[in-house]
């Protein structure tokens, strides 16, 4: 099945539709604010970030609301992408070849679809951590209303919230590195929506074949 509607002039392929790009940047903007203010609350050595962003009180006040915006974006992502993010047998082969991927030997990698196994890990990592952050964050938003005999909820929340946040920071760092520095063209695709034929062939051969109906470049 080819998708000629995703073929654009000048040899470009549409990778992210407008609503996908918009959702991504709502999530990205709210996440970066959450990460910066969260780091300020996380360590005294980062508390200056809160001062830069309007002060500790303002950061504390807006952080939960930004969390709700992020939750909304994550939910939208879940509805848009969860079907495409389902793990496949090819993903297992991809992880077995992760050494090639790290050494930039992409021609040795099993053919990835629209999302490779690493991107799926990023997606599910953010979904799961997002749920944990939402639940623990709701408790931390209103700790004074948690009754004394349910205080274990607060004790769990202060552990789960930073733990899940640290996991997302790990995913976030790799995501930025891959999309901005490692794969030239990825950053442009989430802004303008399209990628080159070469990009699709190189990084998502199975997806390329699906879209164009033509075989990706022969592998050696």
């Amino acid at each position: 099945m080819s998708h000629s509607d995703q073929m654009l002039p000048h040899g470009r392929i549409l990778r992210y539709e407008f609503h996908e790009r918009l959702t991504h940047w709502i999530a990205a903007g709210s996440y970066i604010y959450l990460m910066l203010t969260g780091l300020a609350f996380y360590s005294p050595w980062c508390f200056w970030i809160a001062a830069m962003l309007g002060g500790g009180q303002v950061s504390r006040m807006l952080h939960p609301w930004a969390g709700l915006i992020f939750t909304g974006a994550i939910l939208k992502m879940f509805s848009m992408w969860s079907a495409q993010m389902r793990p496949t047998d090819a993903d297992k082969a991809w992880w077995d070849s992760i050494g090639h991927y790290i050494r930039n030997e992409d021609d040795q990698m099993p053919a990835a679809g629209r999302y490779n196994a690493g991107q799926k890990l990023l997606f599910w990592g953010f979904i799961i951590c997002g749920v944990l952050l939402l639940l623990s964050g709701a408790i931390l938003w209103f700790p004074e209303y948690v009754p004394w005999n349910l205080r274990f909820l607060r004790y769990l929340a202060v552990l789960i919230h930073p733990s899940a946040a640290l996991l997302t920071i790990g995913l976030f760092l790799i995501h930025i590195y891959m999309s901005v520095f490692a794969e030239r063209g990825a950053f442009g695709s989430i802004i303008r929506g399209d990628v080159s034929m070469a990009f699709a062939k190189r990084y998502h051969p199975a997806w390329y074949e699906e879209i164009t109906g033509q075989p990706a470049a022969p592998k050696k």
């Binding site: 508390f47 500790g56 009180q57 552990l159 080159s196």
Partner: protein, 297 residues
């Protein structure tokens, strides 16, 4: 208030050294509450509200002496009443003046992320600086005594200051001054412990309270408020006074190992990614962008 007598030795959410750390101080201050001579008159409650100029709030009348179930952001000092039934079936009033315990190792201060929002002076008083408070409520989670309370309007947390302003001027806290039975005492920790032990011995030897003892829990490094109890083996009877309070395990884990693990992981991750770029570079190069179908951005 006088800065000369109130140097800060511990400070919440603070990077670097604390100004008053290691400063000389002859003694830490301490409040002694002898629950065996408390008559539940609530003069201390009134004196606290008066001196600290706290706005009035509605009380709850439930046909007991208990005017409200717990302290509030604007009610820092509350006597907790328990009509206790002894083993022989007779009744006995257990009355405990509840307020901040001024722990030597305060859980509120350990949990607080805001720079200088919670301080401990060199005289041992733990004080909230509402100007620096960000209203996160972590102190509520850190406290093993359920003392810090949020003002819902200003989102700042309040509690007993041990009348730090009075103490800094050489006065005793307002509650001490108001007590008609002399069940409240104020002085150095050493003197108050001495007095408390003497009173407990008297209760054991002369008043048929063989379990009488002093409450100064070691789990929080000792407290700046010590109690004499008729039965020191059952502090829970006195309005839920915890028998072995400590900073919650999750707060210690979160502020200790987890923080270090996270710091190492974040810095290590950044360094690792940078080194990866130096070693392997990008997956595609700029000159490839010029080929047909190459990415042009």
């Amino acid at each position: 208030m006088s800065q000369a007598t109130l140097r800060v030795q511990k400070m919440s959410g603070h990077a670097g050294t604390v100004p008053g750390d290691d400063a000389q101080r002859e003694f830490t201050v301490c409040k002694l509450i002898d629950t065996t001579t408390c008559i539940g008159c609530k003069a201390c409650e009134v004196a606290c509200m008066e001196w600290n100029d706290l706005p009035f709030g509605e009380t709850v009348f439930d046909n007991t002496y208990q005017t409200m179930p717990e302290t509030r952001w604007n009610y820092w000092n509350l006597i907790l009443f328990n009509e206790h039934e002894k083993e022989d079936g007779s009744l006995m009033w257990l009355m405990r003046k509840n307020q901040c315990m001024h722990c030597a190792e305060p859980g509120c201060l350990a949990a607080c992320p805001a720079d200088g929002a919670i301080v401990q002076y060199t005289n041992g008083i733990v004080d909230f600086q509402q100007a620096n408070c960000i209203g996160c409520g972590y102190c509520i989670t850190g406290c093993p005594f359920d003392i810090p309370k949020m003002n819902p309007k200003t989102n700042r947390v309040f509690k007993c200051t041990l009348c730090a302003d009075r103490v800094s001027e050489g006065l005793e806290p307002a509650c001490i001054k108001s007590c008609p039975t002399g069940c409240l005492h104020f002085g150095s920790k050493e003197d108050m412990k001495d007095l408390a032990e003497k009173r407990a011995k008297q209760l054991r030897d002369d008043f048929n309270f063989p379990q009488a003892g002093v409450y100064d829990p070691a789990g929080v490094g000792g407290t700046g408020v010590v109690y004499v109890l008729h039965d020191a083996t059952k502090p829970e009877l006195y309005g839920g006074l915890p028998s072995n309070p400590s900073i919650p395990w999750s707060v210690r884990l979160w502020k200790g190992p987890l923080k270090w693990l996270g710091n190492v992981a974040m810095v290590g991750g950044l360094v690792g990614l940078f080194v990866h770029y130096l070693r392997f570079g990008p997956k595609s190069r700029e000159d490839e962008d010029l080929h047909p179908g190459g990415e042009s951005s």
